[in-house]
């Protein structure tokens, strides 16, 4: 397990921090200006499509960072983080569905899919879903509490390694089946879509999109800051020790459960927030986000970028998803070959990811 990690203390130097902040500045100032002010057709114009794509990638980057936190530093590979992402998305989606109001196809107070199922009133768990603050609360609480409960059971009985990975996969699979049911009350197959506005702003307008995009970039910066301070602290050292020698750490008198549980829950919450930012930007959430395949894909973003490097997963998410949006449009048949080969080649020949290529002086 040792020797495959890019840097022991990532993002420690001032220069690295300054570089990250500078990139953030470019993303939140240049892109919005180029999108809103530069006339369409000019060389400096950034299209709406591009803004949405960038916003999407930023959300994915948060997810990748969350997975890096537990996998790269804690040694816990989750194959179910798509679930937390989707739950955050659904929590936000409920609010967005309610804020459609009577502008749906059936002009009812209820969301269209409920009218379609001939439901007369909102199920109890939809109570108060028209309040934005409640949606924000649920975005954090639902993934957080689920992760806490699941993690408590799993870590207490010392499930780790591939066992843990497999049961997280079963978890997200079970939730996917649950959300596919129409009677679960979350729109079944189709999920939520056709959103009209968020906090009163029309959701399709370029300004709203840019605002959401900037918010995503800020959230990513915040997540990076939190993760950095965490892994550079004593807590981070214990976490790394859990990854490398959990038994020895236990014999030294530490109880790993609390550490693992905290970082695991934090990671789930980060995913939930990313999902909540993602849904208004892409305008749809459905149960396929919970498919096991999606969650495994997250792991490859992290592996491509480089584990335990914080900046690597961000890079990996951008590279893989950039390639995805290009390949699936230009060469749809090649995408799975590309992704499959990426999985094989990166794990086989690039254990430290892209970041590892640039890391100086550290031999694997």
């Amino acid at each position: 397990m040792t020797g495959v990690f890019a840097t022991a203390r990532p993002l420690e130097s001032r220069r690295a921090v300054a570089a990250v902040v500078a990139i953030y500045g470019v993303l939140v100032i240049v892109v919005p200006v180029a999108n809103l002010l530069a006339p369409a057709g000019s060389a400096f114009h950034v299209s709406d499509y591009m803004v949405t794509l960038l916003g999407k990638i930023l959300c994915y980057a948060i997810v990748a960072l969350a997975v890096d936190l537990i996998w790269g530093f804690g040694g816990i590979l989750s194959l179910g983080h798509g679930l937390f992402f989707a739950l955050g998305g659904y929590a936000m989606g409920m609010y967005l569905m309610r804020s459609i109001g009577r502008e749906g196809v059936y002009q009812s107070d209820l969301p269209d899919f409920m009218v379609f199922l001939d439901w007369k009133q909102l199920p109890w768990y939809w109570a108060g879903s028209d309040r934005f603050w409640q949606a924000c609360l649920f975005v954090v609480l639902v993934p957080g509490v689920l992760a806490l409960v699941f993690g408590w059971f799993a870590f207490r009985s010392r499930i780790r390694g591939v066992y843990f990975s497999i049961i997280t996969q079963a978890l997200t699979f079970a939730f996917m089946l649950l959300f596919f049911r129409n009677n679960t009350g979350f729109g079944g197959n189709n999920g939520f879509t056709d959103f009209k506005r968020i906090l009163g702003f029309p959701i399709a307008s370029p300004r709203t999109k840019v605002a959401l995009y900037a918010l995503s970039a800020t959230a990513l910066l915040g997540a990076l800051a939190i993760c950095r301070s965490l892994v550079l602290s004593k807590f981070g050292r214990v976490l790394t020790a859990i990854r490398d020698e959990e038994s020895r750490l236990r014999f030294c008198g530490y109880d790993p459960v609390g550490y693992k549980l905290f970082v695991w829950t934090l990671s789930a919450v980060m995913c939930g927030i990313a999902g909540a930012l993602y849904v208004p930007q892409v305008g749809i959430i459905n149960p396929s986000e919970m498919s096991p395949g999606n969650s495994i894909e997250i792991a490859i973003w992290v592996a491509v970028g480089g584990r335990a490097s914080l900046i690597g997963p961000v890079l990996g998410a951008a590279l893989v998803n950039g390639a995805k949006s290009w390949l699936t449009v230009s060469f749809p048949d090649l995408w799975l070959y590309f992704l499959g080969l990426l999985f094989i080649l990166v794990t086989r020949y690039l254990p430290r990811g892209v970041v590892g290529l640039f890391a100086r002086g550290q031999t694997p």
Partner: protein
């Protein structure tokens, strides 16, 4: 089996024979033919009834012709139109219509209904079981008292269990309304022997709200008999339900076992997390499809037996892919399970896309051989499909094969040695890389066999494997890694539990509940059902 009902049905048969003798008429003759062609509607009706009562199968063509408007009357002469030519109804010799127009013999609605039933009743004597079954199904929709003698005779000579049962229930339904108390008792008994919800409904209707209820049974003996019969039927229905449930569970369990057995070897014995396991199943299924196509193209006569060639082909195809996978990907990653997981997932994506590019994204059609269609009726209301039985048998066969291979052969010995203590085995001269390769290929080949079986009961498409990967891992993990017996028990148990929950919760919720149960179970016993007890601080 009770003896009393047999005695009474014997009595019934004798009564029926006596009844036949009394009527006298045996075969369709010129006189009855003339009546059929006459303008008198009631004479036609009685002739049809007589033909049925005599069980005269020879009358079938004439009755059919009458129903279909192919029976013609030309003066005194009656003619039958057959394939555009006119024949004599009795001799079947070509006939010529005399001068003057031959007219269609007309039938009214009442006669039409009566004819349809009469034809069905006569078809009960057809030599082909399928015809008899169809006729009985038709008569179940509605029969009348005229058919009683024919039905009784049909019952007496019927060999096929399913048809017997149908005829019995038709008879029961008919006689239940009879004015004769003894006949009603016979009817109750006939219905008791056909324990279905339909029989139960008929009996309960006869019972009505109470003895005073108009239209309900008033005789206390018959009422008691009905009460007893309903209880018997309830018991039999429950029994059928339980047997059906156990069989459904066994069937699902054997599917799970076939899907997971290969994984029990690659993951259970070797500890390799092969996420492409589902795709090995898919390759087995596609190999079956290819063999089926080859048989259709080159050996159409033997296409019922293509599975005999498909099973080894599936084993070889999946085994080869597995060997390739071991050499190129898995070998370099031994001891790094998480990396193996990701790399093999990549392989699974490659395989899915490769199959999509070769065979198309749509499902391909793999059909059951004809000997697998249909089913065996084990008790009333419970038909076990042959393809499910075949899957169970196949699962047992594969299981026994694997067990023999692991426990009784030299290869199995080496496999166990390497898995238990690699260093020691190597030190004693075992070529461990070869054993790894062979074991992995074996596991992959068994997955191919599983895919061959799955192709017989489900859709074959590029995503076939994705649906099984979570299930397979759950079975192996629940059973305990490295424990074939655990895998078997876990598969059977999961199958039963799933089927038990389905009626209450629906298939999807049952599956979710089972997944939740497994997740909780693993928390309690992280090493599975059959955990070898050890003192190590950590297991790999």
């Amino acid at each position: 089996m009770r003896s009393a009902p047999q005695v009474s049905s014997l009595a019934l048969a004798i009564a029926a024979a006596a009844c036949l003798a009394a009527r006298g008429a045996s075969a369709l003759d010129a006189a009855s033919l003339a009546k059929l062609a006459s303008g008198d509607a009631s004479a036609k009706l009685s002739t049809v009834q007589e033909a049925v009562a005599s069980g005269d199968v020879a009358a079938l063509p004439v009755l059919r012709a009458l129903l279909e408007g192919r029976l013609l009357a030309a003066g005194e002469q009656v003619l039958l139109e057959e394939n555009g030519a006119l024949v004599d109804p009795l001799t079947r010799r070509p006939a010529v219509a005399p001068a003057g127009e031959a007219e269609k013999v007309s039938i009214n609605n009442r006669l039409r209904r009566s004819l349809e039933r009469a034809i069905a009743a006569l078809e009960l004597f057809s030599p082909r079981a399928a015809d008899r079954l169809r006729a009985a199904r038709f008569l179940q929709e509605g029969a009348d008292e005229d058919l009683l003698p024919a039905l009784e005779r049909a019952l007496a000579q019927e060999k096929d269990a399913q048809v017997r049962e149908l005829v019995r229930s038709i008879l029961g339904a008919l006689l239940l309304g009879s004015r004769d108390r003894d006949k009603r008792l016979v009817a109750v008994d006939a219905l008791r022997k056909v324990p279905s919800t339909r029989s139960k409904r008929l009996l309960l209707e006869r019972l009505g709200a109470g003895p005073a209820d108009p239209g309900a049974e008033s005789d206390s003996t018959v009422r008691d008999a009905i009460g007893g019969a309903v209880k018997d039927i309830d018991r039999a229905l429950l029994r059928a339900e339980i047997v059906g449930w156990i069989f459904g569970g066994l069937s699902l369990g054997s599917v799970l076992l076939l899907a997971a057995l290969g994984l029990a070897i690659t993951f259970g014995l070797m500890g390799v997390i092969n996420m492409a396991h589902g795709e090995l199943l898919m390759i087995g299924a596609y190999a079956t499809y290819v063999v089926q196509s080859l048989f259709r193209a080159h050996l159409p006569g033997a296409s019922d037996w293509y599975l005999l060639a498909a099973a080894p082909a599936a084993f070889l195809a999946a085994g080869l892919v597995g060997a390739l996978l071991e050499v190129t990907v898995v070998r370099a990653l031994y001891g790094r399970p998480l990396e193996t997981l990701l790399a093999t997932w990549g392989v699974s994506l490659l395989l899915i896309q490769a199959v999509r590019s070769t065979f198309g994204a749509q499902n391909v059609e793999v059909s059951n051989p004809s000997w697998m269609s249909g089913g065996v009726t084990v008790m009333s209301g419970l038909v076990l499909p042959y393809n499910r039985i075949a899957i169970i048998a196949f699962a047992v066969l594969v299981l026994v094969g694997v067990w023999l291979l692991i426990e009784r052969t030299r290869l199995g010995l080496l496999v166990r040695a390497v898995m238990q203590n690699r260093g020691m085995a190597a030190g004693l001269g075992v070529a461990t890389p070869w054993v790894d390769l062979l074991t992995f290929a074996l596991g992959a080949g068994i997955a191919g066999l599983g895919g061959c079986a799955l192709s017989q009961i489900g859709n074959v498409g590029p995503e076939l494997g994705q649906g099984f990967i979570v299930d397979s891992f759950m079975v192996v993990v629940l059973g305990g890694v490295g424990q074939l017996a655990g895998t078997v028990l876990a598969a059977a148990g999961l199958g039963q539990v799933n089927k038990l929950l389905e009626p209450f919760a629906g298939a999807v919720l049952a599956k979710i509940a089972v997944l939740a149960f497994i997740i909780l179970f693993i928390q309690r016993r992280p090493q599975g059902l059959f955990a070898p007890r050890g003192r190590a601080a950590e297991e790999a």
